[in-house]
Amino acid sequence: MNTMDLSDFEAARPLLTSILLVVGTLWIFVACVGLLRLPDLLCRSHAMGKAMTLGITLVLLAVALQLGAEKAGLKVVLAILFQFLTIPVAGHLLSLLAYRKNVPRWRHRPMDRQERSIENPKS
């Protein structure tokens, strides 16, 4: 029973790896299109911070699944955790710097005045 389950997993391993690779690569492609087409630094860091994190996590999961536990070991898990932690931190640092330096935004409308105009539209 146990050996049957293991052989089934061995038969299904290339298919699972291929599915994870294609889905992760398509998410990275989404991040590329966002980096090319979005109009603003904050929008671009939005595209990087979420789609890129999901894509690189799926690709590294495919690496872990294809190599197996005895070859990949703990290093793939460490790489996944590192990417999962650092890509949003880098995007947040860039967005914070862009907000503090008042980098021109899409339609040139700063966030503070927009919040103020939402609270009382007369001002």
Partner: protein, 104 residues
């Protein structure tokens, strides 16, 4: 099957690297260029993962770790440097608020 999948994924990731280099060339501010550098570094990490799947070796895992570490610390160092030296843009005047009709 997995050979064709790795070829397809490599082509898509090379398009990603080209997109990052294009954004690095035409980016309006230096922050766009830093973001594009981050994108190129992560796409290169994904290419290393695909190569280690294709050749079925685990020798690239240290390379993946070191490359992602270098990309992240490059971004953090540039941001902390620019926080001191990058000149702040002037704030917009309120008269500009009605000029934009919402079109791109």
């Amino acid at each position: 099957m997995i050979e064709y999948v790795t070829i397809f994924c490599s082509v898509v990731l090379m398009f990603g690297i080209l997109a990052g280099l294009f954004r690095m060339a035409v980016g309006p501010t230096i922050l766009d260029r830093i973001l594009a550098f981050d994108m190129v570094a992560i796409s290169a990490v994904a290419l290393m993962g695909i190569l280690s799947i294709r050749w079925h070796t685990e020798l690239f895992l240290e390379l993946i770790l070191i490359f992602s570490l270098l990309g992240f610390f490059g971004t953090v160092a540039l941001v902390f440097y620019l926080q001191k030296t990058y000149p702040a843009y002037p704030a917009d005047e309120p008269e500009q608020e009605d000029e934009h009709d919402g079109s791109l």
